[in-house]
C-alpha cells in the first residue's frame, strides 16, 4: 500500500493449532490463520474484523509473539522470528497489547502505578524517581487523575481500567499497539471516551494500531483501513470508507447487512439477505472457497477452487470468484480438476 517501508509487514502468516488432547485418538491440525499478508504504516490504524473464530485475534497474538507461527512478521524493519531466547523480551519494545477484558488483564493485587511501571521496570534502566514521574505523565496522557496511582484495579470502573491498560501499553513507547477488542466490553458512552483517547494518543505519539474488533460501527469510526477475515483467511481489504460503502466480498456485505442500524424506519426497510448457518468446523474445512456453503451468490466454481486475490479500482483487495474476470476465470486451474459444469 505504501511506497515507504511499512511499520508492520505480515507475509504469508499461518498459525496451525493441534486439536485433540494427548489422550485423544483423533489428532487434527486446525488452520486458525492461513496465508495472511497485511501491512500497517506508521501512525496508521488497521482494523481486523470478522466473526469469532475467524482468526482475527490469532493474528494479533502472533504479532505479539504469543503463539508460534509460520511465515514472516517484520516490525520496524526487524524480523520478529529473530527475537529468540534472551532477545525475545526486547521485542516487547516494538509492540504492546491491550486486551478485551480489563478485569482479567490487570493484576488485582497491584496498585495502578505498579501496573503501569511494570514494562518500564523490565525494559528500561530508570531510577525510581524517574519512573514515578513517567507514571504520572502516563496517567495524565490517559486522562486519569494522578491520585489513582495508589488505587487497586477493583476500585476502578471498566473504562478507567481500560485506560490503565492503555497507559501500560504505551509506557515503553512502542510504535505499534494491538487492541484486541479493547472497547468491546465497555458501555457505549464509556466506549466513546476510550476511542477518543486512542485517537488522541495516535496523533500525539504517531502510534499505529492493529485494531481487532467485531463491532463494525466502532471500526468505521477509528480505522483507516479494514481487513475482513473469514475462516482464517483475509477475504477483503481496503480503505475503510470504500469497504463500508461498497463492500466487494459477499461476506463483507453480509456482515454489514447483519448489523442493525439504530434507525427503525431505515432498518425495517433494509433488504437483508441473512447469511445462513455458522462458521464451518475447522477440522473439516470446506472445499474451494471457504465461504461457499453460506454464500448467497455461490457459483459452481466456488465449490471447487479457492479464489485468488484480485485488486479492484478503489484499492480494495478481494478474494472472491465474483471479481475474477471472467467469473470462471481461474479456468486453467479448474480444468485440471475436471469438475467445472457443462461447457
Amino acid at each position: 500500500m505504501d511506497e515507504t517501508q511499512p511499520l508492520l509487514e505480515i507475509e504469508d502468516l499461518s498459525v496451525v493449532f493441534r486439536s485433540g488432547g494427548f489422550a485423544s485418538r483423533r489428532k487434527t491440525r486446525v488452520h486458525a490463520v492461513s496465508n495472511v499478508s497485511l501491512r500497517i504504516a506508521e501512525g496508521e490504524t488497521v482494523a481486523l474484523v470478522g466473526e469469532s473464530g475467524s482468526g482475527k485475534s490469532t493474528i494479533g497474538k502472533a504479532v505479539c509473539g504469543l503463539v508460534p507461527y509460520e511465515g514472516r512478521i517484520r516490525l520496524a524493519g526487524q524480523d520478529l522470528g529473530s527475537f529468540t531466547g534472551r532477545r525475545s523480551t526486547s521485542a516487547a519494545r516494538l509492540r504492546q497489547m491491550v486486551f478485551q477484558d480489563p478485569y482479567s488483564s490487570l493484576d488485582p493485587t497491584m496498585p495502578v502505578d505498579e501496573i503501569i511501571a511494570e514494562p518500564l521496570r523490565r525494559l528500561e534502566k530508570m531510577r525510581q524517581a524517574q519512573r514515578q514521574a513517567k507514571v504520572a505523565d502516563l496517567l495524565d496522557a490517559v486522562q486519569l487523575p494522578r491520585s489513582f496511582a495508589h488505587r487497586l484495579p477493583a476500585e476502578l470502573s471498566g473504562g478507567q481500567r481500560q485506560r490503565v491498560a492503555i497507559a501500560r501499553a504505551i509506557a515503553i513507547e512502542p510504535p505499534l499497539v494491538i487492541c484486541d477488542e479493547a472497547v468491546s466490553a465497555l458501555d457505549v458512552s464509556t466506549q466513546r471516551g476510550v476511542i477518543e483517547l486512542l485517537e488522541k494518543l495516535r496523533t500525539e505519539r504517531n502510534l499505529a494500531y492493529l485494531f481487532i474488533s467485531h463491532d463494525l460501527s466502532v471500526v468505521r469510526s477509528v480505522a483507516d483501513r479494514v481487513a475482513v477475515m473469514y475462516f482464517g483467511s483475509l477475504v477483503e481489504e481496503g480503505p475503510t470508507e470504500a469497504v463500508f460503502s461498497d463492500p466487494a466480498h459477499p461476506y463483507t456485505k453480509a456482515l454489514l447487512e447483519a448489523a442493525p442500524i439504530p434507525d427503525p424506519r431505515r432498518q425495517r426497510q433494509r433488504t437483508r439477505a441473512t447469511v445462513r448457518g455458522e462458521l464451518p468446523d475447522p477440522t473439516r474445512p470446506p472445499s474451494g472457497c471457504s465461504f461457499h456453503p453460506r454464500c448467497p451468490s455461490a457459483m459452481e466454481i466456488c465449490r471447487t477452487a479457492a479464489p485468488r486475490e484480485t485488486t479492484l479500482d478503489s484499492r480494495v483487495a478481494v478474494r472472491c470468484h465474483l471479481h475474477l474476470d471472467p467469473p470462471v476465470g481461474a479456468a486453467d486451474e479448474v480444468a485440471e480438476r475436471e469438475t467445472v459444469g457443462p461447457r
Binding site: 473504562g159 458512552s189 467485531h214 470508507e241 424506519r265 431505515r266
Partner: protein, 346 residues
C-alpha cells in the same frame, strides 16, 4: 395455587406497576430499580434499554421472582400477569407460573444450561414438570421444539451436551427451553449480546417468527439501539434505576425528548458527543442524569422530576424538566450529519 384463567377483557396481559428494588448494605439502602412501570400486550415487544448498572437486568430478575431469596434485596410494587399478582407469591406459586406463563432467556447460554445434562434431558424435564405427558411424548415435543428453533439435525442434537454446541446453537436451545411450555410472556435479557452479528440477525429473525406463531409478549432487554430499532414496538429507556423516556419505537428515535436518549443515540451512531462521566450511582435529589447532561440547569434539574406525558396523540413519557425548551438531535438529524461527512449507508 394460582388459577390459569384467561385475562378479563380490558386487563392488559402483562403489567408492571411501580416496581422498585432496594439493596440493603448494613444501614444503607440503595434503590437500584425505582418505580418502573410498563405494560405489554400479546404479540407486542417492549425494549428496555440502558447501560450496565441502569437496573434493567434487576427489573427482569424482580419480575421473575428471582430476587426473592436474596436477603439484602427487597422488591416492592406490582407485577401482574393477566390480572394476577406475581410479586410476593410463594416459591411454589411462582414455580407453577414460570415456564407455562412466564419464561426468561439469559445473555450467557453457557452458564444457564446445565453442562452435565443433555439438551433433551433439560427440555424433557421442563416439559414434564408442567405438563402431564409421558417421557416419550415429551422427547418428541423436545425434538419438535428444537426444530422450531431451527436447530439443524434436531434428532441428533437432542442428545448433545451444551459444550458440544456453538454459542448461537446454545442460544437457540435456550429459546426452545424457554418457549417449550408456550409462555404468554417472554423476558429476553441481552439474548444476542454475546453473539456475532450474523448469528444475532438469525436469532432476532427466529424470535420474530416464534412470536408471530405463539403471540407471546416480549420484554427485550438490551443496550443495543440497533437491535431495538429492528425488533421492538415500544421502547423504555432506563437510567440509574428509573425509566427516563418511554415511547413507540419510531417516536423514540425520531422525536426523542430526553438528553440521555440523545447521547445514547449519538454514541451508537458514530459521530458523537461523548457522554461525560460514567453511569451514576443513586443521587438523592433531582435529575440523576444532571451531572452528565449538557443541558442541565441547576435551578430546574435539582428537584425530583416525574415521568410526564408529552403533548400529542402518541403516548410518549419523558422525565426531564427542560424537555419542552430543548431541541434535541433526533435520528434524522444525526443521519444527515453522517451523510455530510460522506458516510453513505451500505
Amino acid at each position: 395455587m394460582l388459577t390459569t384463567a384467561e385475562p378479563a377483557a380490558g386487563v392488559p396481559l402483562f403489567e408492571v406497576d411501580e416496581l422498585s428494588v432496594e439493596f440493603r448494605h448494613g444501614n444503607r439502602v440503595r434503590r437500584v430499580v425505582d418505580e418502573v412501570s410498563f405494560q405489554i400486550g400479546p404479540g407486542e415487544t417492549l425494549g428496555l434499554v440502558g447501560e450496565s448498572g441502569s437496573g434493567k437486568s434487576m427489573t427482569a430478575l424482580a419480575i421473575m421472582g428471582l430476587l426473592g431469596r436474596l436477603r439484602f434485596a427487597r422488591s416492592s410494587g406490582s407485577v401482574r400477569l393477566a390480572g394476577r399478582e406475581l410479586l410476593g407469591s410463594s416459591y411454589r406459586e411462582l414455580s407453577a407460573v414460570r415456564g407455562p406463563e412466564l419464561a426468561m432467556v439469559f445473555q450467557d447460554p453457557m452458564s444457564s444450561l446445565n453442562p452435565a445434562l443433555t439438551i433433551g434431558h433439560q427440555l424433557v424435564e421442563t416439559l414434564r414438570r408442567h405438563q402431564k405427558i409421558s417421557r416419550r411424548a415429551a422427547r418428541e415435543r423436545a425434538v419438535e421444539m428444537l426444530k422450531l428453533a431451527e436447530i439443524p439435525a434436531a434428532e441428533r442434537r437432542v442428545s448433545a451436551y451444551s459444550h458440544e454446541l456453538s454459542g448461537g446453537m446454545r442460544q437457540r436451545v435456550m429459546i426452545a427451553l424457554a418457549l417449550c411450555c408456550r409462555p404468554k410472556v417472554l423476558i429476553a435479557d441481552e439474548p444476542t449480546t454475546a453473539l456475532d452479528v450474523t448469528i444475532q440477525a438469525q436469532i432476532l429473525d427466529l424470535l420474530r417468527g416464534l412470536q408471530s406463531e405463539f403471540g407471546m409478549a416480549i420484554l427485550f432487554i438490551t443496550h443495543n439501539l440497533g437491535v431495538v430499532a429492528d425488533l421492538c414496538d415500544r421502547v423504555a429507556v432506563m437510567y440509574s434505576g428509573q425509566i427516563v423516556e418511554k415511547a413507540p419505537v419510531l417516536q423514540l428515535f425520531e422525536e426523542l425528548a430526553h438528553p440521555y436518549t440523545e447521547s445514547l443515540l449519538r454514541s451508537t451512531t458514530g459521530r458523537p458527543r461523548a457522554v461525560r462521566g460514567t453511569a451514576a450511582g443513586a443521587v438523592e435529589h433531582g435529575c440523576r442524569f444532571a451531572d452528565r447532561c449538557r443541558y442541565a440547569q441547576e435551578d430546574l434539574c435539582g428537584q425530583e422530576i416525574p415521568l410526564l406525558p408529552r403533548a400529542g396523540t402518541v403516548p410518549h413519557l419523558v422525565r426531564c424538566a427542560r424537555t419542552e425548551t430543548l431541541e434535541l438531535d433526533t435520528v434524522r438529524a444525526i443521519a444527515d450529519d453522517e451523510n455530510k461527512v460522506g458516510a453513505g449507508d451500505g
